[in-house]
Symmetry: C2
Subunit: 335 residues, 2 copies
Amino acid sequence: MSTSLTNEAIYVASRPTGIPTAENFRTDTHPVPEVRQGEILVHNEWLSVEPAMRGWLADANNYSSVGVGEVMQSLCVGIVIASKADEFSVGDRLMGWFGWQHYAVVKPSAVVQKITSSDIRPSLYLGVLGLNGATAATALETIGAPKPGETVVVSTAAGGVGSCVGQLAKALGCRTVGLTSTPEKVKVCYEEFGYDHVINYKTDDIDAALKAACPQGIDIYFDNTAGRISDSVVQHLAPGARVIVCGTASIAKWDPVPMGPRVERILLTRRALMQGFILFDHMDTYASYIGKLEALVRANKLTCREHVTQGLHTAMGAIEELYRGENLGKRLIRL
Amino acid sequence: MSTSLTNEAIYVASRPTGIPTAENFRTDTHPVPEVRQGEILVHNEWLSVEPAMRGWLADANNYSSVGVGEVMQSLCVGIVIASKADEFSVGDRLMGWFGWQHYAVVKPSAVVQKITSSDIRPSLYLGVLGLNGATAATALETIGAPKPGETVVVSTAAGGVGSCVGQLAKALGCRTVGLTSTPEKVKVCYEEFGYDHVINYKTDDIDAALKAACPQGIDIYFDNTAGRISDSVVQHLAPGARVIVCGTASIAKWDPVPMGPRVERILLTRRALMQGFILFDHMDTYASYIGKLEALVRANKLTCREHVTQGLHTAMGAIEELYRGENLGKRLIRL
């Protein structure tokens, strides 16, 4: 099967030294290659932008990776427009690793999930029903193990993962405290994500605000930022606290490793745990968590803000916008 | 029951600002008080000196405590010489919280364990069969969860807790790598505690030595030091590593909190766990762990070096000696 379609794609032009910027990418066009036996052709509708992309592009301490000259790796939602694989048929809507491009010829192993629900908008499968939701739910359950009445603090409270953590913890009967960066995000955290307390870490006295919001200490800290915010939060950990290290958005460069207050004494005296979490280790339970999250979406107990821009080229600068905190909700590109 | 015995005891004279020195204590004598209903009179034979005593004496970030003007808190082994409590009889040998003094009038709740074995020397109940052994065994199992073939690194490898960790890990089929501070201790680590590799952190290039000793990375790091040694060790953590934070001996002062390289990125990319451990949270399983350790001692699979000085007054400077690394093995005072 040959096609006469022309593909436009975003390629990695250079490795960033810190946060990836538009200059690290370039666009190019080429004919869509032939679909060979065992492959499918997907027409992308939605592309995702993730904070984790910084790590995928980094040289140092890198757990996934995408190389210079390759199409930028990304989760996408798209429609199968040609199939030479038994697993999928023309018309199927899929979420998977299709890259920042209009058309992708891939093997079925690139597919994370077939989207069969007709009552849920497809873009949610890149947010609360995708990597973000699965990350929030899996990490909160496997490391956090929240119990009703416990106090859960979330950094990047209004973000894709954070807003999901806040709502899941609330649904489990926890007190939720969110940290975010603008009055607009504070408002959304209260009104849409149901946080019990929201702290603006740019304008509030973080220590005083945490002390007031968490009089019994913090049982679970879901950390997407590291840095100055976390330095304050860990001072307020309760005995037996669990710190989920899910992201380090506030630290622009890890080479050389930046200095911060040592955590050993707090971990020791509070008998606290700090543990790193990467969703890719937990793909065996992915579908089961997404199923639980779909039920919460249908019950209107889980909502998601989306920050959408139109057009492939808008992806190129989107990672640095994320790190500047300019998005409000899950960052998506609509093609 | 009244006694005409005179007791000599070591009192806390002042709170140390860092590591406790002899100047923070004073000795005094007083008549042994009357033994009231429900109490026992213990004649101490052995006193213990623990790194943890720094924490008990500290104001800040303190999880146990002993106040100025009180007899210095300590585990001891002694003989019951008078009893008005049903639980214990004259002649019983006990390990418990009897303090740095010759005679203690205490309630049965101060007793940790009655020593019934006649084939094991009693001082071991302050070492491998006491706090040290229970700490090593409980923390290694509950946080470390070692599997045969895994690589276990121990800081203070020749110390009371560390030497026990090394031997327990070895008995479980792990590769053991110890960090210690003198050629004499290196020799003891190889010959008595059976480490596979021993690193002298004062003279060796720690990073190069760890890289050579742990080609597959470090699965478990049992940390009694924090600081510079740990900063090197964590660079070599394997994916899924567990760091047991059991002590912070290399850090003299935590107020203000000293700075060090941030660990969040390593924890994240290695999906590693760091967790504080304090034995007092695990006293419900104490007897069961001691029973397992007694079996290892009887089978000659668990040995312990003791560093003994004679006379109550030698306790006063013993904590600072521990922190200067002058002891070789479990630090004890013989009365």
